[in-house]
Amino acid sequence: NNSSQLSSLPLQILLYVNGIYYIFYFLATLAMIIYKSQVFSYPDDLLAPDLVVLFLMAILEVPQLYLGFKGNLTEAEVPLGLSLGLTVGSVVLCVYLLLWQTYVLWADVLLNAVLLLAYGLESGLKVMAITAFVS
C-alpha cells in the first residue's frame, strides 16, 4: 500500500491511541488537582489557572483528533494542517502543566511526559503525511 494509499497507518493508530490515552489523562489530572486542593494549601487564585488550562486542553484536543482523522483518511492536507496547528497549542498547554503548575507531582510528570511524547510523534507523522499528500 504505497502506491494507491497515501494515508499513514501509523498516524491513524497513534491518533486512535492518543484519543483513548487523553481521556485517561484528563480524568487522572483532574482527580489529582482535586487531591492536591484537599491535601495541600491551594489558594483559589492559583487553582483557577490550572483548571482553565486543563479544560482548554480538552477543548482543543477534540477538534485536533477529529481533523487528524478526517485529514488522514481523506488524504486532505488542509485538515491535517489545522490539526497540526492545534497540536502545537496542546503541546504548549502540556508543557505548562508539566513545568508551571502550582504543584507538580511525580505522577503529573509521568503523564505529561507520555503525552508530550505522543504529541511529538504525532506531529512528526502528520508532517510526513502532509508532504506525502501535497506531493
Partner: protein, 547 residues
C-alpha cells in the same frame, strides 16, 4: 530625630530571613551559647560534650516529607567508639510515593506564612483584625453579618434568656461595677435574671458635679428597656436622701427628678446608690422596671464617692423569695420552711391555703448556734440557718442550781433548742411555691424521754436536753441530673429527768442540737424503651384461590 525614626523603620520593615538549610536547623538548641543536653545538632557543643550524650533527641532534620527528593541531616551517636562521637551525615531522602511533590511553583506552599510585621501604617488595620479575643482564619469578606447583628430586631428582644444582657434603646442596661480595680466602669451590662449587687468608687469633684453624668438620676433612667413590642420605661420607685452623717430619709414624693447641683460648697442630689427592680413574666418578657435611688451630698474635700448598685428580678404575681435550688436543693443553700396560717380547719387548709413564708431569718429552719460563752441561758437568740446537705451539731452547757424550778426551765430549754418560731413545714424542692401546699413536707415531732428505769412511777418532770433533726432526702428525676428532694423531716426531742439537787450544789449538763441529712434514694434503675415488635399479619385473602 528623623534618622532614628528612619532607622527604626528600616529595622522594622525587614523581618529575619527564615532558615531553610537543614544542616543549620536545630530544634533542640534552646540555650544560647551553651550546649543543650542530648542535642546532637547544637553548634555550641564540643566533642567532649558529645561523648557524654546517651542518645540524640533529634535524629533527623528534614524539610517537608512530601517532596520527592530532599536533603536531610542525620545525626547519630556512635557508641562503639571510645569516646562516643557524633556522626553527622547529609543525605538525600527520597519519597517513593507516586504522589510526591516533584516541584512547586508556589513558594509559600511548604512553609508557614511569615506574619506581617506591624508598622505605624498598618497597625490600625492589624489591630482591627487581630485585636479581639478571637479572629477567624477566613478572609474578612466572608464575615458580612458582624454589623448586621446590631441593632437587633424586635422579635429577638421580646424574650430574654438567663444571662442575656438587658437591652435598652441605646445599648444595654448599665450596672456600674468595679473592673480590675475598685473604680466604677459603666460598661457592665445587667444580665437577665442575674441578681447582682456591686459597689464601686467614682472620682468626683464638687465644682463640676452637675456635669458628671454618673451622678445624676437621668443617667440611670433615661433610656427605656426594649421588651417585646413596646419599650418599658424605668420609673422612679422611691428616693431616699442621705445626709452627710449617713442618716437616710425617704422622700414622700418621688415624681420630681432631682438633679445634682452645687449648693454652699456641697454637691447635693448626687446619686449614691441605685436599686433596680425588674418584673418579668414567666416566659421571659420584661413588663416593668423601677429604680429606687439614694441621693446624697458630696462635700468639697471628697475626691471620690462610693456608689452601690443592685438589680433584682421578680416574676409577676409572685413574692420574691430566694430559691434554694431549681428544682432540687443545692448543697449549701438554706432549707426553706414555713407555717400553715392560723384559723383554717385542717382539711380545707391543706387544699386551699397557702403557706405563710417569711424571709425573716428567725422563722426559717434554724438550729442553736454555739457561742463562746457556751451558756444556754445567756445565749438565747443566736441561731444558725440549716443549710441543705450540711450536717451540723451545736450545743451549750446548762448550769442547774437547786433553786431552779423544773417547768419554767423545761420551757426555756425548749425555746433555746427550737427557737422562737419553729416551722411546721419544709419545702420538698428548692423552688416550691407557697401556693402548692402538697409540695411541702410536714415536720414530724417525736418525743423520746430517757426515763430512769429504776423509778418508773416517779413523775418527775422532764427537761429537754437534745434536739435532733433528721432530714431524709432522695434523688429525684433523671439519671444524669438528679435533683435533691426532701422526703421526710423528723425533729426528735430527747428529754431526761431532772433530779432534785441538794441545795447549794449545781450541775452542768450539756444540751445539744443536731441536723443530719440522710440520703434515702433507692438505686436508680435505668429504664429502656421497649423493644420494637414486628407486627406482621398476612391479609386474610392471601391464599385466595386455595382458601
Amino acid at each position: 530625630p528623623a534618622d532614628v525614626h528612619d532607622a527604626a523603620k528600616a529595622r522594622v520593615r525587614s523581618p529575619p530571613a527564615p532558615v531553610t538549610d537543614v544542616a543549620r536547623l536545630c530544634v533542640c538548641d534552646l540555650l544560647v551559647a551553651q550546649c543543650d543536653v542530648n542535642c546532637c545538632c547544637d553548634p555550641d557543643c564540643s566533642a567532649e560534650d558529645f561523648s557524654l550524650f546517651t542518645t540524640c533527641s533529634v535524629p533527623l532534620v528534614t524539610g517537608d516529607s512530601q517532596l520527592c527528593s530532599q536533603k536531610a541531616a542525620v545525626y547519630s551517636l556512635d557508641v562503639e567508639a571510645n569516646p562516643p562521637e557524633r556522626i553527622f551525615k547529609l543525605i538525600d531522602q527520597v519519597n517513593p510515593s507516586i504522589f510526591c511533590i516533584h516541584a512547586t511553583n508556589y513558594k509559600q506552599a511548604l512553609y508557614l506564612k511569615s506574619p506581617e510585621i506591624p508598622t505605624p501604617e498598618n497597625f490600625d488595620q492589624l489591630l482591627a483584625k487581630f485585636g479581639g479575643a478571637t479572629f477567624s482564619a477566613e478572609p474578612d469578606s466572608w464575615n458580612l453579618d458582624t454589623d448586621a447583628q446590631n441593632p437587633p430586631d424586635a422579635n429577638e428582644t421580646s424574650r430574654y434568656e438567663y444571662g442575656v444582657p438587658v437591652q435598652t434603646e441605646d445599648a444595654f442596661l448599665r450596672l456600674p461595677s468595679p473592673v480590675v480595680s475598685s473604680w466604677c466602669s459603666d460598661a457592665n451590662p445587667a444580665g437577665f435574671l442575674v441578681n447582682q449587687a456591686t459597689k464601686c468608687i467614682r472620682s468626683v469633684s464638687v465644682e463640676k458635679c452637675d456635669s458628671i453624668q454618673a451622678l445624676s438620676m437621668l443617667f440611670y433612667i433615661n433610656s427605656s428597656i426594649l421588651a417585646s413590642v413596646f419599650q418599658v420605661n424605668i420609673t422612679v420607685q422611691s428616693i431616699a436622701v442621705q445626709s452627710l452623717n449617713g442618716m437616710r430619709t425617704l422622700l414622700s414624693s418621688s415624681d420630681v427628678l432631682r438633679l445634682p447641683m452645687v449648693l454652699d460648697e456641697l454637691c447635693i442630689n448626687a446619686v449614691l446608690g441605685v436599686n433596680y427592680h425588674i418584673t418579668h413574666t414567666d416566659t421571659g418578657e420584661i413588663i416593668e422596671a423601677a429604680a429606687a435611688f439614694v441621693l446624697g451630698a458630696i462635700s468639697k474635700e471628697a475626691l471620690s464617692i462610693e456608689q452601690s448598685f443592685e438589680i433584682s428580678f421578680t416574676q409577676e404575681n409572685t413574692q420574691p423569695v430566694p430559691l434554694s435550688g431549681n428544682p432540687g436543693y443545692v448543697v449549701g443553700l438554706p432549707v426553706r420552711a414555713g407555717f400553715q396560717p392560723q384559723g383554717y380547719p385542717f382539711p380545707a387548709a391543706f387544699l386551699f391555703a397557702a403557706l405563710a413564708l417569711s424571709s425573716n431569718k428567725h422563722s426559717q429552719l434554724t438550729i442553736l448556734h454555739s457561742t463562746s460563752t457556751q451558756d444556754c441561758l445567756a445565749a438565747q437568740g443566736a441561731r444558725a440557718p440549716v443549710l441543705f446537705g450540711y450536717n451540723m451539731i451545736s450545743g451549750c452547757k446548762l448550769r442547774i442550781t437547786a433553786a431552779m424550778k423544773c417547768q419554767p426551765l423545761a420551757q426555756t430549754l425548749l425555746d433555746v433548742l427550737k427557737g422562737q418560731s419553729f416551722p411546721e413545714y419544709v419545702a420538698s424542692f428548692g423552688n416550691s411555691q407557697a401556693q402548692d401546699v402538697l409540695d411541702w413536707v410536714p415536720i414530724t415531732q417525736l418525743h423520746i424521754s430517757e426515763q430512769m428505769i429504776s423509778h418508773p412511777l416517779q413523775s418527775s418532770c422532764q427537761i429537754p436536753v437534745s434536739l435532733g433533726i433528721e432530714v431524709k432526702w432522695t434523688k429525684y428525676g433523671s439519671l444524669v441530673n438528679p435533683q435533691a428532694r426532701i422526703v421526710n423531716v423528723t425533729a426528735t426531742i430527747t428529754t431526761t429527768t431532772l433530779k432534785q439537787l441538794p441545795s447549794g450544789r449545781e450541775r452542768i449538763i450539756p444540751i445539744t442540737s443536731s441536723v443530719v441529712f440522710t440520703d434515702i434514694s433507692s438505686p436508680a434503675e435505668p429504664s429502656y424503651k421497649a423493644w420494637p415488635t414486628i407486627n406482621i399479619k398476612l391479609p386474610f385473602d392471601f391464599f385466595y384461590p386455595f382458601v
